[in-house]
Each structure stands twice: as structure tokens, then as C-alpha cells.
């Protein structure tokens, strides 16, 4: 029996790589010592949305003349197919998204400032062009003060931003985190309370404006809740991100994990401490066989990279000083995907999503090629396949 491919890490990069293996009919184990960073972000994937301090409108343009970037060679066709693949994987997993745009969508950050993103979950606010909005705030949700967000929004966009202030719900106390808010709002009394307060206070808000709620509108039932709001108020209703615990990422992580499990992927818990000829060693002494290894252990935050006291950067899985993580993949058996790639700084560039996507696709394609496996396209699953190289 051939051992499965081992993907180390179950952050977004690891999940995507594993999904592609599943769709190619390859057995895959995700080995990880933590949940990964999805619960920290809304789940809207960035595609070169800013460069230093500059907000970028058109990622295609940027990639067209990118030089020295690990994915500079990707054609626009490859990107298009890559994004398509991701959105289809998500659709299969029950994670609805806005349609794929031809440019970055306009979104709104947790602080209320305009932001850019590419593949955006359907519950999150995203439009082709910035427009006047109505920001909704809850008393007691200190992460999202709608009146402050509105000032920031209109100052940066030169557009009207109205405010709808809702009270804090019965039973609220100062310790409520976003998850607590979401659990309450998706309970029956919570949903009823919300609709009642909304209809009571909506009168002052201009008719046509979309309602932008903080990202606490339920865990599993977000579509129902936003749908009910639209039905009862006649307005578009969306969320804007909030700081962690971030419901967007939590929803995606749960749905995606479930889909992977249903499709035969195996999740294994444990810390990987080394890569060997036949797979990896983990739990300090034991070994785990794998036909190939994809290293998707994230950056410093995810645990893949460590900064030692003397300031040197270490690759934690291979326990060696980093001379560029490509050193790991020299024999072609180990490929890296995700945050850990040298030369990529999602904070600075707003392309964490794009790099996750491209690196996962490349890692899977490279692995399949090296093993001489043909991706088994499964028409029944919606025709999703691995992106062909050009």
C-alpha cells in the first residue's frame, strides 16, 4: 500500500494543498500541532492588494511586471484558473463566495477603512466600486464602533457613511468576545432580538444604503441571519471583518475541515520534528511514512519559522538555519507552501492569499508530477482539477 502524501500544517495553505490532493484522488494526511491561522482572519483572500502603503486596484497589472517574486512567472491564465479552483473547492465545501472579479473588490477593514481583496466569502461586504454605506454597531462591542468606523470610511473614500447604533443585547457583559456575540445572535432569542431592534431603529437611515454589520452574525447560520435581515428590511446586508476570534475564518475552517474529512483526508495531531527519507518524524521519536511531504507550516506566527535569541531564522521542521526555505526542497521530495516562502510578506504586500494559492497549487502539481501520478479528475465533484502548467 502506498503511504499517503503528508501535508504538514493545516492552515489555509495546508488545507488547500490537501484539498487538491483529495480531488486528484491521492490519499493525504494533514499533520499539524495547532489549528493554523484561519481563526485569526476574515477569510477574504488578498491578491496583491497593497504595496507598502499604497492600495492597489489591479493585481493583474502588478503581477504582469513583477520581477523577483516567487510567482512572477505565473501567467494571468494560471492565476485565473488558480482562483477558480479555490472558489470551486470552497463551493464544494459549502463556503459561498462573491463571484470572481476581474480586479480586486472594494472591501472594508475592521477599522472601517477601505480595503482591497480578491476572493471574498459571500457574507463579507465586497463591491466593484466604493459606495456610500451604513455601518451598524452594537453597544458594547468595543472592536467595532460604527461611528468611528464611519468617520474613517468617509474620510478615506470621500463618501457618505451613515451609522446605525444598536444597543447591547440582554445578558451581555463586558467579557463577550466575537464568538459569544455570534453564538447569541444565531440563537432563537438572539435572532428575534436583532430583527426587532433593527426594525425599530432603521427609520433614520437612508433607503438605498447597504447595512454593514460587524463580523459576529452567527457561526453556522450567517447566511440565514443576513438573509432574514434583507427580507425584513429590504436592504443588502453584509459583514465587515473584526479582530480575532474572527468568525469568517472560523466558519471557513470548520466547513473546510469537514469537507476534507468527508473526502478521505486524515487529520493527525502532533508536532513534526524532522523530515526523513520515508516521511517525517514526530512526537520526538516516532516516524510517519509518506510518499511525499508538503511543508505548509506557516511563518513565524504559524510555527514554521522560529527566530532564535541570536536573531537567526530557523526552519523548525528541519531544525536548520534558514538559507531560504527552498534548501529544504532540493531533492524535490519536500515542497513548501504558504506563509513561509522567502520574499513574501503578506503584511506589507497584501498577497498572503495569492501566495497561499499559488504555492499550494505548485506544491501539489510538482508532487504529482514527481510521483508520476495522473490527477484523477473527478467529474462528479464538479470538474475541479489541478491547474495545468503552461
Amino acid at each position: 500500500m502506498t503511504p499517503p502524501v503528508l501535508v504538514i500544517g493545516r492552515g489555509p495553505a495546508g488545507m488547500l494543498a490537501a484539498s487538491l490532493f483529495c480531488l486528484a484522488g491521492v490519499a493525504v494526511d494533514l499533520v499539524a500541532d495547532g489549528a493554523g491561522t484561519l481563526p485569526l482572519w476574515s477569510g477574504a483572500w488578498h491578491f496583491r492588494s497593497y504595496d507598502g502603503a499604497r492600495l492597489l486596484d489591479d493585481p493583474w497589472q502588478w503581477w504582469a511586471d513583477a520581477e523577483g517574486h516567487p510567482y512572477a512567472a505565473w501567467s494571468s491564465q494560471q492565476w485565473r484558473e488558480g482562483w477558480q479552483t479555490l472558489s470551486q473547492v470552497w463551493r464544494l465545501a459549502g463556503i459561498p463566495t462573491h463571484p470572481l472579479p476581474s480586479r480586486n473588490w472594494w472591501t472594508v477593514s475592521a477599522a472601517g477603512t477601505p480595503d482591497r481583496a480578491f476572493l471574498v466569502p459571500a457574507w463579507q461586504y465586497a463591491v466593484p466600486a466604493a459606495e456610500p454605506v451604513c455601518l451598524v454597531g452594537f453597544e458594547g462591542l468595543a472592536d467595532s464602533l460604527a461611528d468611528v468606523q464611519a468617520v474613517r470610511y468617509s474620510r478615506r473614500c470621500n463618501l457618505r457613511a451613515e451609522v446605525l447604533a444598536l444597543p447591547s443585547p440582554p445578558g451581555w457583559d463586558g467579557t463577550w468576545s466575537t464568538v459569544r456575540w455570534a453564538s447569541y445572535l444565531e440563537s432563537e432569542p438572539g435572532g428575534a432580538w436583532l430583527l426587532e431592534e433593527l426594525t425599530r431603529r432603521l427609520a433614520g437611515v437612508s433607503d438605498e444604503l447597504p447595512l454593514l454589520f460587524p463580523q459576529v452574525m452567527g457561526i453556522r447560520r450567517v447566511a440565514d441571519i443576513l438573509g432574514a435581515i434583507t427580507r425584513s428590511t429590504g436592504r443588502r446586508a453584509y459583514e465587515v471583518p473584526a479582530p480575532p476570534p474572527a468568525l469568517g475564518g472560523i466558519r471557513i475552517q470548520e466547513q473546510w475541515t469537514r469537507w476534507l474529512l468527508r473526502n478521505g483526508a486524515r487529520f493527525r495531531s502532533g508536532h513534526v520534528d524532522g523530515i526523513t527519507e520515508d516521511g517525517v518524524t514526530w512526537h520526538h521519536t516516532q516516524s510517519l511514512n509518506g510518499a511525499a511531504v508538503v511543508n505548509a507550516t506557516g511563518g513565524v506566527l504559524g510555527g514554521g519559522l522560529a527566530i532564535r535569541r541570536d536573531g537567526s531564522l530557523w526552519e523548525t521542521v528541519a531544525a536548520r538555519r534558514l538559507g531560504g526555505s527552498s534548501a529544504l526542497g532540493q531533492d524535490g521530495r519536500v515542497v513548501t507552501a504558504g506563509r513561509q516562502l522567502p520574499g513574501c510578506d503578506p503584511d506589507r504586500h497584501g498577497d498572503g492569499g495569492a501566495v497561499n494559492l499559488a504555492s499550494a497549487v505548485e506544491a501539489v502539481r510538482g508532487t504529482l508530477q514527481r510521483l508520476g501520478w495522473q490527477p484523477a479528475r473527478s467529474a462528479g465533484e464538479g470538474g475541479v482539477g489541478i491547474v495545468e502548467s503552461h
Partner: protein, 417 residues
């Protein structure tokens, strides 16, 4: 779940148990918290129980105050099930659940509750006299703070089959680790697992020879010191009874995680021989012919799979799916993080409402047309069956039944040899 997690520390492995503070174990990474709240996102109780402050506040935040000398426990800390999902999610290796258990140990409880907990945290006592629970009048249970669930537990008997005469066998002898719950109430699972192992060619010895407990229940109830001494007793028992066996097969995911993970890191004990979970053993050791036979047998209705929380933490998820696939049975993982049973948690009256709420949610997640539920823990199985009405059994029981159907009775046991 790791010692010295994803940082430079991983390069020089450290054990969690490092120094002792007034007899209390002190662990590494207790001060590592990044305040990211990933643990809060992972906690099933936080979603079900509006009073519960959640793992971040109860774990690292509380511990920081504790180190400053404030030993008061937070409200509702007892609502934590010790499922450890928070700890398994944490990117900084904080022993979140264990810090919470430490905090539970500081809660002052009324006498009656202490009496009840002395019993519940020693399930090996209960396992010696399993009938006792049923004999006591429910009123007494209520007085002691037991939930109604505790009364609904029924003993399940060993399936009828003739074990092979001698436990000598071509593939050597392995230990079947009989946990307290299985010993007292689920002989069915023990018998089925034993029969299967024998079918696969192993000699089997049930260990430990006497009723002992690994300490899991005591730890979960906030009695780490008691858990430590129980673990050591059990380790000694295993050293006596299992020394010459190849490995141990566990049936209960919580005990499995406790033996392999908790013992060396938190309880200063080690199992004498390697420990393997039943589903791993089945997938890796059962001969291909066995699976062929199962697949050729009558079609089975689709089943749902529940990997218990401690199983997810210690080993992950997807092992049961692999078994079902090998057996040719359509299976769907149950969409539930923790069913709320959590060992003896659901048996405590103060937890009944939350456990029910979590269990109902798990029950609602049951896919339509499910013919049965595979669960790798006896107490979870009882709870889920109560909540969903679907027959819930250990995978060993399901596999044994499928095998019997496919092979028409024990005659084939010999045929295999």
C-alpha cells in the same frame, strides 16, 4: 499538543513537566500566550454555555494572576470538560486545559459534591461493582449531585462467541487495555475487540489484571495530584501484567490519549509497552482477506462516525473513516466537536444542561438515514445514543457484527487459521 512546540524550543525537545512548585507540576510554555483567541474559537463549551469564560481567560489569563498570588478560581471554571481542544489548537504550546485543571483544583466544593467526585474520579471502583449504580435509588443520586444520565447507563454484555481455546497465536500476544467504563459497562466492546484481534491472528490478554484507572477522570475533575498517583498505580499494574506483550490496544480514545500523551508529560508515568488505538491496529494489522470478506458481505446501511474530542486531540480525525472505507461501509463524520459527555462530566448534575445542549446539537447533526453511529469512547456512545436515538457502539462492535454477518458465525474463525 506538544512539548516545546513550534519554535526554536522544538530543536531541543523539552518535557512539559519541568519543575515542581509546592508539589504541583510546573510546565513549560505557561507564559507563552499570544492572546490570539484561537483557543476560544476551538472551545465547544464556550459556544454552548454563556456563563463560561472560555479557555483564554480561564487558562493563561488566570494563571498569570495565580502566579501573582491570587489563588481564587474564576466562576464556572468547572464547566470545562477538559476536552483539550483549546490546547490542541494553540499556536504557542500553552497547556491551556491543564492550567484550567489546576484552577479547578482550587475550587472549594460542598461536602456532598466532594463525596460524589471521589467516586466519579475513581471509575475503577465503580467498574468493580458496576451493578451498584443501578441499585442505588435515584433520589440518593440526586442528593449526591448526579445527573439523570448516570442512571440511564446500562451494562452491555459480551457478545456470544467461543474464544479460541489458547491465547497462543502465530502473530504473538497483545494486550487489550480494558478501561474502567468498558470493564464495568461495555463488555460488548471488549468481547468484540478481543474476538477480532484473535480473528486477525493475535493472542490476547486483557490488561490490567485488576480494575485500575489511568487518571483521566480525576484530572478532568481538577484532581491532578490524585490523577498522578492513580496513573502510577496503573503503570505499575501494567508493568506487572503487560511487560511481555507486544503492545496494548486501547478502546477508549480518552484513555488512549491519557496513556500516551498525558502520562509522560503531565503525570510522570510511562506505559510499559507501546500503546495503539483500536482503529489504528485494525487498519494496520487486520489481514487484507478480512477486509475483502467484509466488503463482499451484505451491504450495510450508512453510518455516522464520531471521533471523541480527546481522540481528536491525541491522534486527530479521519481514522474511523479509513476503517469504514476498508470495510466497504458508507460513512459520514458527525459534525460535532464535543458531544458533552466528556467522561463523567455529563453525570454531574450541575453540567446536565450544558451536556444535553451539546449532545442535542451533535444529535441534530446526524445525517438522515444513518444506520448507526461509530464512537471511540463508551461514555460518549451512551450519551449520543440518548441524544439522537441512533444506536451508538464502539467500532469494534460494528466490525465484529459485520464480520459475523459476512462469515456466518464462529466456524470461520477456525477456517482462517
Amino acid at each position: 499538543m506538544r512539548a516545546g512546540s513550534g519554535s526554536w524550543k522544538a530543536i531541543e525537545p523539552v518535557r512539559k513537566t519541568q519543575v515542581r512548585e509546592g508539589g504541583q507540576a510546573m510546565w513549560s510554555d505557561t507564559d507563552s500566550c499570544l492572546k490570539c483567541s484561537i483557543c476560544v474559537a476551538a472551545c465547544p463549551v464556550y459556544r454552548a454555555d454563556p456563563e463560561f469564560l472560555g479557555p483564554k481567560a480561564l487558562g493563561p489569563d488566570w494563571y498569570r494572576l495565580f502566579q501573582q498570588g491570587d489563588t481564587r478560581p474564576f466562576a464556572h471554571v468547572d464547566d470545562c470538560t477538559f476536552c483539550q481542544l483549546c490546547e490542541a489548537a494553540c499556536p504557542a504550546g500553552v497547556p491551556v486545559a491543564h492550567l484550567i485543571a489546576l484552577q479547578k483544583s482550587l475550587v472549594k466544593r460542598p461536602f456532598r459534591m466532594r463525596v460524589r467526585d471521589s467516586v466519579l474520579t475513581r471509575p475503577h471502583w465503580v467498574a468493580r461493582v458496576p451493578g451498584a449504580l443501578g441499585l442505588a435509588p435515584p433520589a440518593l443520586g440526586r442528593a449526591l449531585g448526579l445527573s439523570a444520565s448516570a442512571w440511564r447507563v446500562r451494562r452491555r454484555r459480551r457478545p456470544r462467541f467461543d474464544p479460541l481455546a489458547a491465547a497462543v497465536s502465530a502473530r504473538g500476544t497483545v494486550g487489550l487495555f480494558v478501561d474502567c467504563f468498558s470493564r464495568g459497562y461495555d463488555r460488548e466492546a471488549v468481547g468484540a475487540a478481543r474476538a477480532l484481534l484473535e480473528v486477525w491472528g493475535f493472542g490476547v490478554r486483557e490488561v490490567p489484571g485488576q480494575s485500575l484507572c489511568c487518571g483521566a477522570a480525576a484530572y478532568a475533575s481538577g484532581r491532578p495530584a490524585q490523577a498522578g498517583s492513580m496513573a502510577k498505580q496503573m503503570a505499575a499494574g501494567l508493568a506487572r501484567d503487560a511487560q511481555h506483550l507486544q503492545w496494548l490496544v486501547t478502546l477508549n480514545a480518552t484513555c488512549d490519549g491519557t496513556l500516551r500523551d498525558e502520562w509522560p508529560r503531565f503525570l510522570d508515568a510511562v506505559p510499559v509497552v507501546p500503546v495503539r488505538a483500536f482503529d489504528d491496529v485494525a487498519a494496520e494489522e487486520a489481514p487484507e482477506a478480512f477486509w475483502r470478506r467484509l466488503r463482499a458481505g451484505a451491504p450495510h446501511p450508512p453510518v455516522a462516525l464520531h471521533t471523541t474530542c480527546r481522540g481528536k486531540v491525541a491522534r486527530g480525525e479521519g481514522g474511523l473513516s479509513r476503517l469504514a472505507a476498508l470495510a466497504g461501509i458508507a460513512a459520514e463524520p458527525l459534525d460535532a466537536a464535543c458531544c458533552g459527555a466528556a467522561g463523567s462530566y455529563a453525570f454531574k448534575r450541575e453540567h446536565a444542561a450544558i451536556a444535553q445542549k451539546m449532545g442535542r446539537k451533535a444529535g441534530q447533526a446526524m445525517p438522515a438515514g444513518t444506520g448507526g453511529l461509530w464512537v471511540d469512547s463508551g461514555t460518549c456512545a451512551v450519551h449520543l445514543e440518548e441524544m439522537s436515538g441512533v444506536r451508538a457502539r464502539h467500532p469494534a462492535v460494528w466490525l465484529w457484527e459485520a464480520w459475523q454477518q459476512a462469515a456466518h458465525g464462529p466456524a470461520t474463525l477456525r477456517e482462517r487459521e
